[in-house]
Symmetry: D2
Subunit: 371 residues, 4 copies
């Protein structure tokens, strides 16, 4: 009985939220959710749950990568979250344990030169444990198991299985994505698009050197992976940077609203979700409903991979050259390894919060038939 | 007669503008004005004129450095502007023709990798001429001569002559300042302070890659000089970055107001001044009256000197570490070559424009007795 | 008849060459031969054939990586060579098509700054074709097929199947090895050792900038892969650098000697082998019989991955600090990502050439039972 | 009486040593000796003394720069050596105290990443004192005074006074030379040539990381100065690298031979000279008599100024491109900031030692008339 009730309320909210894809009017979008899934109930995990809850999305798998936490710990926490969401039909696929070049030791040498960073994910000194250690999970230990396949190989298998249909959505460091690209040069052209939370530009909040938005955690953690991913011939790249993240906040009011749903997922959210910027949730929901974004821009994108002061900093370059008044803008000539990305600068926060509350308040989606 | 009239009107404006230093109540501040003085009537030249016009400032000399234009051309244009201002008592001192490492050729190689820059000063392709060429000056050719001493040697001589009294105010690339520091390690400790227009941070306007405020012209032109200057043991460093520059504009209204003065200087301003951001004028006037600045912050400051994507980009790092609520902030531990600077973020534009109009409308200051 | 004859002659040569492992006295060493196998009959291919011919070695597979040629072309050429050697029991496993970061385009930008390179493998302008193109093979087209598994995954599978038994021998860029390391952090500790041809130091011959031995092709092609591979916790690393390669030469005399064997392999060698330094053959034979090396040294090893003039250059650092006469040498304290490698500096060329002639003159080894 | 005797013996030796310039047959070559003059009786000081002793050279001045020791200490030690040589007519001119960018602190950060260096000149930990400290001089305190002009200004003044006549000979870091070049862009074209000891290439001895000859002290101490000096339009650059230095040694036999002269200079040499490679002496004597060099090569020359593993390492690039047999070599196309230098690779050591002994055994040269 209870289940019916919250399905109904969700329906009401949804009806005016979405036009298109709702309830199967169009086939759901196939997505691989690639995350550094800190748990419980971080921005990472919430974005996973939004994907699992959305009727417009078919999650082919959740691939994990070290970042906010080590991948082994994340795997357990994600399996648990997926169980709580009632979606154990979705494979959880562990991926890279270490970035390509960057490391705890290298970051410490950098900090001696350029100043201590405020947050370093799995490498943060005050919460550090070894990659193999799984701390006790306050959200409960999972009973399900991860897929016995590397995230990168999983990505490759999926883009070949569903050519031109798969969105790779990345909410963490891009190590898995870059590994897939280097294992198989066809990944970028076979995928539908790459959508990600990462980068930062002219924000004085949200960076791991605080006032420096270009020192964004996901991209800083594995700069070479970003360089590989940002140089690949994707059909489309969409970026949710720090600059837009910091315009949001998971407030007590939102939490209270979701708590009303009294589902296991809502309870998990109520117990464990903090009050942070909604980094990854914006990127997830904008993928489902692009109309929450009110300002975006096409920009050349890359990252500094020189091992100096700016290692791991975002580079955005204007797509068009300065045009004097009356002249037609000319696309900037860039070296062949540059790509243009759509970068989101602003959003309709009211619409965004509503959509977030709705999806988080829904009953569990039915398990999908296995593929 | 005319002279008396505009002297009177200036007096009126001044009376309520300034409290302290006005008309010799306190001894005027000794300043070396170091500039890449593009002429005629650029932001560079206006800032020089403001110094020459201010009764609160004693300009020991105007030292010139390549940047917006080549130093040989600037020397002629500055001599002319100084003649127009009636201040040929102030020595004009040519300095460095080339930055330490950066060059037209190196910048072109950089652009092939990272995209064409919108403005490169003396190296800008569409206006390029050789360093030795002096184009015809539409403002008229000067009859006076520059000092036969290098700007760097002049700076050294002055800080020794007036220990702890000399402000080095820099509105261009820091090549002269860095040369002085390397010729004489006492320059920084003998000077009173370093005040400069340069750097940029989280501004999407004003950079030479436009949306990238950290690619600020003065600092980009000679990054190694900035590194040298920013690592020296000055008593105080004050920085006017792009972020505050772009909040101002030399409007037709301001120009019209100044035109009323009908002095040679006002006429020069009317004829030649454009409508740009008031980059250097803010720095000059804030030096004379710090109360025009409404927001500033102490930050560690440096520049990226690695020859990659971020060569020449500003680095600002928060002085204090992240403090959790209730904790006392702790000053960040930085490598020995970092210095703290006061960085100006916002200003009282009304007050600033008034002060600008007043100084530019004044009659020429009397020539000072030679030193 | 013929077969018996050349088996006998080989036996004669061998009998005094080897003591230990000969003819199964000890179990053959398991090795994965990772190569950028330019064909036909290059140093790359000869080293593969030496492994296939040696009774002391069990080749688990030949993994291929772009370098001297593109991996797709190499795959065909290697299959053909393996057929000629009569060893189609050994799997041929294609691997990475592109290095992590380096690329044809990036190398061209580097060359504009620092001078044209003499050889760039698959990227060499005068012989360039696209990665997918397979030119006609003058040695004949193969009828066998490669394994349907990525080289990196193959490496991972083998080290898990035979823990502590597998030598990874690498004669090309280290992209496959680095991919394996990043896909599975246990690869280095599960493998027996890493043996490779690559790097260079104080040689004025053999580099791709000629007089600069530190610009060695294999390492230059994928510097980041080298950094990953050289930072992994291998039990042992052995390096055959340019400095020793240039002391050898595949002479007409050696070719004539091998021609006498009149096997298909010898015929292939006679037809196609050139007169180059015996880069990879030294590394292969020294692995089989370490006594051909007459001088070696333990050194800290790494590579420059900063994207400047020295991108991709070898770094060797002495293991011990300068000790003054009478003092005991102290091991240099290095950052955690440095490893010590055994670097070969000199060899017994007579012994080396004999061993080369013997193995190349042997009859095909019997096919091994499939694993 | 005594004086006559050693003049005679010197004459005997000289007579068959030199043909040309001896005893004023041609006017002596004007040279500025720029040194990091560690005293007493180091390779630095010996090279200065050779210049002072040679009848073929007119030393315009000895300009000093921090390197092996701090410039303030060097100034005292050089004044004393000049007094001992009886050449107080030659001005001693102190120059730069610090390199452009490199510093003790920066070098320590580098060492943490890439390994401790064996020697760091004035920054060497075990012998460190502050720049202002003058330790007691065992060779005696000088009574003469240095010139009151900066070395860089002195260089500028001299090349203007004697256009196309002055050789700048540099035996230390190039800070003074680079300062002169940046203060006055005409220095390179007004000078006759630049001759220097510095750089290193394929030597496994003599570097400050020992087996790495490209980490040569003079160039490592101030890499940006080298870049400036090596990019200037000199008529000719001649380089004496580590590779040739390590072929020499100041032996007890040589010392004993010189001791016989019993001049104050010979006594100083006997008491204080050690047994090191004859770094700077080669460069000095090859300048006086180029026939001691038996092998040299024209090479493009530069230095790595990226702040990574290779910061401060020599770069030599072959002047001509690889030519296939029968083809005419083509000069490599290089970016505009590259220059060609003549690099000395080998010498006639017997001739070199003889020349050294002869000059060091001579009586003091008569003081020259002041200029």
């Amino acid at each position: 009985m209870r289940r019916i009730r919250y399905a109904a309320s969700a329906l009401t909210v949804c009806a005016f939220l979405w036009g298109g894809g709702l309830y199967g009017a169009t086939p759901p979008k196939k997505v691989i959710v690639d995350q550094d899934a800190r748990g419980p109930a971080s921005t990472d995990m919430q974005s996973i749950l939004l994907f699992l809850q959305s009727p417009d999305v078919e999650v082919l798998g959740i691939t994990l990568v070290s970042g906010d936490q080590w991948v082994k710990e994340q795997t357990q926490r994600t399996l648990r979250a997926v169980e709580i969401a009632g979606r154990t039909d979705v494979p959880v696929v562990p991926g890279a344990e270490h970035p390509f070049i960057n490391s705890k030791e290298l970051s410490e040498a950098w900090e001696e030169q350029f100043g201590t960073l405020g947050f370093k994910g799995a490498w943060t000194a005050r919460t550090y444990h070894a990659p193999d250690v799984i701390p006790e999970l306050k959200e409960g230990m999972p009973t399900t198991k991860p897929l016995n396949e590397h995230a990168a190989n999983f990505i490759i298998r999926m883009v070949h299985k569903y050519p031109n249909e798969v969105t790779i959505w990345a909410g963490g460091p891009l190590t898995n994505v870059a590994l897939a690209l280097r294992l198989d040069p066809e990944v970028a052209t076979l995928a539908k698009e790459l959508v990600l939370m990462g980068a930062g530009f002219n924000s004085d909040k949200g960076g791991i050197h605080r006032i420096n938005g270009r020192r964004e955690f996901n991209w800083w953690f594995d700069p070479e992976a970003v360089r590989i991913a940002m140089s690949a011939p994707w059909k489309k790249i969409t970026i949710t940077p720090v600059d837009i993240s910091v315009k949001t906040r998971l407030s007590p009011e939102i939490k209270a609203e979701i708590a009303k749903a009294q589902t296991p997922l809502a309870d998990y959210h109520t117990k464990f979700a903090g009050g942070s910027y909604m980094w990854d949730e914006i990127s997830a929901l904008a993928f489902m409903d692009p109309t929450i974004i009110t300002k975006e821009q096409e920009l050349f994108v890359n990252i500094d991979i020189n091992h100096g002061a700016s290692y791991g900093q975002t580079i955005f370059v204007e797509k068009d050259m300065d045009a004097r008044p009356g002249e037609t803008p000319v696309t900037r000539k860039m070296a062949s390894w540059w790509r243009v990305a759509t970068v989101q600068w602003d959003l309709d926060t009211a619409k965004f919060y509503k959509m977030y509350i709705d999806l988080m308040s829904r009953p569990p989606r039915p398990r999908q038939p296995s593929k």
